[in-house]
């Protein structure tokens, strides 16, 4: 409706357009993936494996278009509140990124170093990211949690979590 300079100003602060991109990409992906499936028509399965993906992909694309229009017109998703959530300040990446770091460290370490070590790092790192500064107490709790879950899963659920580096000791 309006000219390009307003479009630029409209894009500003509209991070929700990222959601539009995600929906659009997901829709295109689902449809492209379904399109490459080749199945002969079968009397016993007239719907085939492609129909639902096409519907779902279509739904995602339609949602992406409508959401784009909605956001550019000033629509906004309502961020989710909660009893321990304070929406008056912006997202605190200084907490979230270290938290994800601890999570990724666990993913990389779990098979090699074993759950007791990687789980300790995960818990201790998460506590640190969330503001815990009582290093010794935090560390003791982390080790205790990992050991307890390791043996709890082994004895209680019959699941062998990887022992990794501590193989033979545990």
């Amino acid at each position: 409706m309006s000219s390009s300079p307003t479009l630029a100003s409209r894009l500003k602060g509209r991070s929700e357009l990222g959601v539009v991109l995600l929906l659009g990409a997901a829709g295109a992906l689902v449809i492209a993936d379904a399109a490459r499936i080749v199945t002969p028509y079968s009397q016993s399965d007239p719907v085939g494996p492609k129909t639902l993906p096409f519907i779902v992909g279509g739904l995602l694309l339609v949602c992406a278009v409508f959401l784009a229009v909605n956001v550019l017109r000033g629509g906004q998703g309502e961020a989710e509140g909660g009893e321990d959530v304070d929406l008056t300040h912006p997202a605190d990446w200084k907490t979230v990124l270290p938290l994800m770091g601890a999570f990724i460290a666990n993913i990389l370490l779990i098979d090699w170093a074993g759950w007791v070590i990687s789980g300790t790092i995960l818990f201790w790192g998460s506590v640190w990211a969330l503001g815990g500064r009582n290093y010794i107490r935090d560390g003791l709790i982390s080790v205790a949690m990992s050991l307890l879950t390791f043996y709890g899963f082994y004895l209680g659920l019959g699941i062998n979590l990887p022992a990794g580096l501590l193989e033979g000791i545990l």
Binding site: E83, G131, G132, R133
Partner: protein
């Protein structure tokens, strides 16, 4: 000159505040009331809410004391907040309330008053609940 008082909404905290008011009137000093929280839990019963602060505000104003009330929530423990403020204000006196703690409790939780007593650069006046002059 300034007097710093660590306040918590408990009998000990009330006793400290009452004593601090007496001291401030005696020496005609400024009174800085600190009520802090680490802010690491949803609930902290030692963090005074709006109405309580209001009451203290009125009480100090009625006594004609030059005062300020601060409620820092910065993830620091109460001892650090009191010591920081005392240093910053070059306080002449710190007033705190004492409560009984079992040795085990002290071991686990640490003792705010002990840390203030040991680390403060100025005199510290420690008051027990129900023992005010």
């Amino acid at each position: 000159m300034t007097i710093v008082v660590g306040y918590v909404p408990t009998p000990e905290g009330e006793a400290a505040l009452t004593q601090a008011i007496l001291e401030a009137r005696k020496s005609n000093s400024k009174l800085l009331v600190i009520n802090s929280s680490k802010g690491d839990a949803l609930v902290d019963n030692r963090y005074a809410q709006e109405p309580e602060i209001q009451t203290i505000e009125e009480r100090l104003a009625a006594q004609g004391i030059d005062h300020a009330i601060i409620q820092p929530v910065r993830g620091h423990d109460a001892a650090a907040e009191v010591l920081d403020a005392a240093e910053e204000q070059k306080a002449e006196l710190i007033v705190i309330g004492l409560r009984r703690r079992t040795p085990v409790g002290k071991l686990i939780m640490g003792s705010t008053s002990q840390r203030i007593l040991l680390e403060a650069d100025c005199p510290v006046l420690a008051v027990k609940a129900g023992a005010t002059a």
